[in-house]
Amino acid sequence: MSQQPQIDIELRNVVKEFTGRSGEFQTRAVDHVSLTIERGEFFSLLGPSGCGKTTTLRMIAGFEAASSGEILLRGKAVQDVPPFHRPVNTVFQDYALFPHMTALQNVMFGLEMENNIPRPEIRRRAEEALEMVRMTPSQFHRKPRQFSGGQQQRIALARALVKRPAVLLLDEPLGALDLKLRKEMQYELITMQNDLGITFIYVTHDQEEALTMSDRIAVMNLGKVLQVGSPEEIYETPNSRFVADFIGETNFLMGTVESHEGICATVRLDESTPIRASYRSEEALTNGQQVTVAIRPEKINIFAAEGSVKHDDGTSDEATAYREKLLRDPDIVMVEGRVEYANYIGTDTRYTIGFGNGQKLVMREQNFGLRNDTYYEVGSRVFIFWDYETARVLTH
């Protein structure tokens, strides 16, 4: 490994416009996308349907030409290179296996197209590829239709990987599989990617899948890349309302900036409720600015305003004493509220807490003990608190 990470794929201001039939309207499917993807990375393009992620992938594969901008594969511009000469291979959403060929013939096809590989080697390599995706030799000579979705998926993977591509493009490859099989294939894909060291570009609309599998994620919406970062960065420090909303569950509180310093801003939600939240240092806040504060439900803690507070370690505190102890920590933000709604969902209980002047927050409390020990009655008074750094100020 060299110190400088090698760039496998680079997109520079790539735009893709589709022209309507009579030419009078245009849709911009991909809008000035710039990305650099390093060698050996598991890179996901994540976004809702129609966000341009698949179009981006298809431009890298060569099925679509960019309207403007540049695509570089290992430093070489590929705009004029047809798909059959690009060192990338695709696993298609619906697998796109050739129905008239056996599993083995499907995998051999790509090697046959290379013209200079002797027949026995083609066969040997194809068989190896199929074995790598855990197909048994008795299955080699069956047609795609005789396989289940998961098996077809594996054959499609073998067919792409046998070409030893520089980059493997995967277009929602697990979309058609049921949940259990998906989890299994997710694990297999990660393992395989680690073993082979091939760059994966993975298109998905499933945020959980992207978080689980990726080294880095680019969140896309309306043709634009909103944020690129590791799963942690994307989840913990979303840069926009859309990203915060699309990935995981989030509370949004509207307010105005009262003061800000460093990464800590005080946001007034209503006349009686100022809260502190963190913001990205590159974000230029101004006092009085309208902002959104995003807080994840699992970052919020709760305890009853009266009586004693039981801790996980078995000790307990009187509520007011506990409150005072917590407030000594300058990072803690605490508000008093009422349980408006409690929803038992097995592992957790979800509470909707009303506070301030008509503000609401959804939070999750893991059900450590028996239900009665950790249950907050609807209507009861509670304190909720969180570390200000987990609450994010978002300006757009």
């Binding site: 594969a61 099925f63 695709t90 298609f92 129905p99 008239h100 239709r145 098996q151 792409a160």
Partner: protein, 303 residues
């Protein structure tokens, strides 16, 4: 095993229903029995009889002389020529029809597709005979084609186009092209073009993607279209009669002459039977090919 299970498990097959099914098929069976099977048997019988004299068309003794006649000079040449013309027509229709069907099936707008399909079947709106005569006029010595060529100075005197095999070929191709286009259109329309992307992705240029993926998967349409052109052209009668004159004699014309005037009914019957045999062979070949295709594409239950 699957077959047994399927018929055993088929819902709603009980005695009464079976009888009702027979009743539904009865009119067609009667019709075909009376006007197809029976005449066919009569023709079969006549083909083994001897030509009669003085107004009697056929008589005993029973003989295979007619078949020997038909399968020897000069009649057998007509068979070979007919098969040749029919095969050539099929090939030309295929060469013209496949790209056309492909063009139609790949139009993005539904309106454009329907319009082009409509244009393909538009000739059926006029009478076959009229169309064939129109071609004869077109190709005639003072027809538009020759006149244009002469006016352009490309030729000094009219080309002999009518009463040639070329004219027959042209007429047949024109008449039967839609029968080639429609089945191919149907299979190209069903074709999943993502497979071409997959082939491209795996390193196949467009030509190789076509040969290895598109063509094999649209072959059922090609086979069906070829059969639909081949069978009627083998027995074509009107087109060679009008456009070929004495030059494009085909089986159909041979059979007609045997039944007309001073013809020979037993010999004509034998020619009919031989022609039918040819057509049946072609059909059997088709059925076997599509059965094989169906077998390889059959969905087998998974796990």
């Amino acid at each position: 095993m699957t077959l047994e299970m399927r018929s055993a498990g088929r819902p709603g097959i009980y005695k009464g229903e079976k009888r009702r099914g027979l009743a539904l098929a009865l009119p067609a069976m009667l019709w075909l029995g009376l006007f197809f099977i029976l005449p066919l048997l009569i023709v079969l019988v006549i083909s083994f009889l001897t030509r009669g004299t003085r107004g009697v068309q056929f008589t005993t003794p029973v003989t295979i002389e007619n078949y020997i006649d038909i399968l020897s000079f000069p009649y057998v040449d007509v068979f070979w020529e007919s098969i040749g013309i029919a095969a050539l027509t099929t090939v030309i229709c295929l060469i013209i029809g496949y790209p056309l069907a492909f063009f139609i099936a790949t139009r993005k707008s539904r309106i454009m597709q329907n319009l082009t399909l409509f244009l393909v079947i538009l000739p059926f709106w006029t009478n076959f005979l009229v169309r064939t005569y129109a071609i004869k006029v077109m190709l005639g010595a003072d027809g538009p084609l020759n006149t244009t060529l002469m006016n352009l100075g490309l030729i000094q005197e009219p080309l002999q186009l009518v009463n040639t095999q070329l004219a027959v070929l042209l007429g047949l191709t024109y008449s039967y092209l839609p029968f080639m286009v429609l089945p191919i259109y149907a299979s190209v329309e069903r074709f999943e073009f993502r497979l071409v992307e997959a082939a491209n992705d795996l390193g196949a240029n467009d030509l190789r993607a076509f040969l290895r993926v598109v063509l094999p998967l649209t072959l059922p349409g090609v086979i069906a279209g070829s059969i639909l052109v081949l069978i009627p052209t083998i027995g074509a009668y009107i087109t060679p009669d009008i456009l070929g004159g004495t030059q494009g004699l085909m089986i159909g014309n041979l059979i007609t002459t045997q039944f007309r005037g001073t013809g020979n009914w037993p010999r004509g019957s034998a020619a009919s039977m031989v022609m039918m045999l040819l057509v049946m062979l072609a059909l059997i070949g088709y059925v076997m090919m599509s059965a094989r295709a169906a077998l390889t594409n059959r969905r087998r239950p998974v796990e």
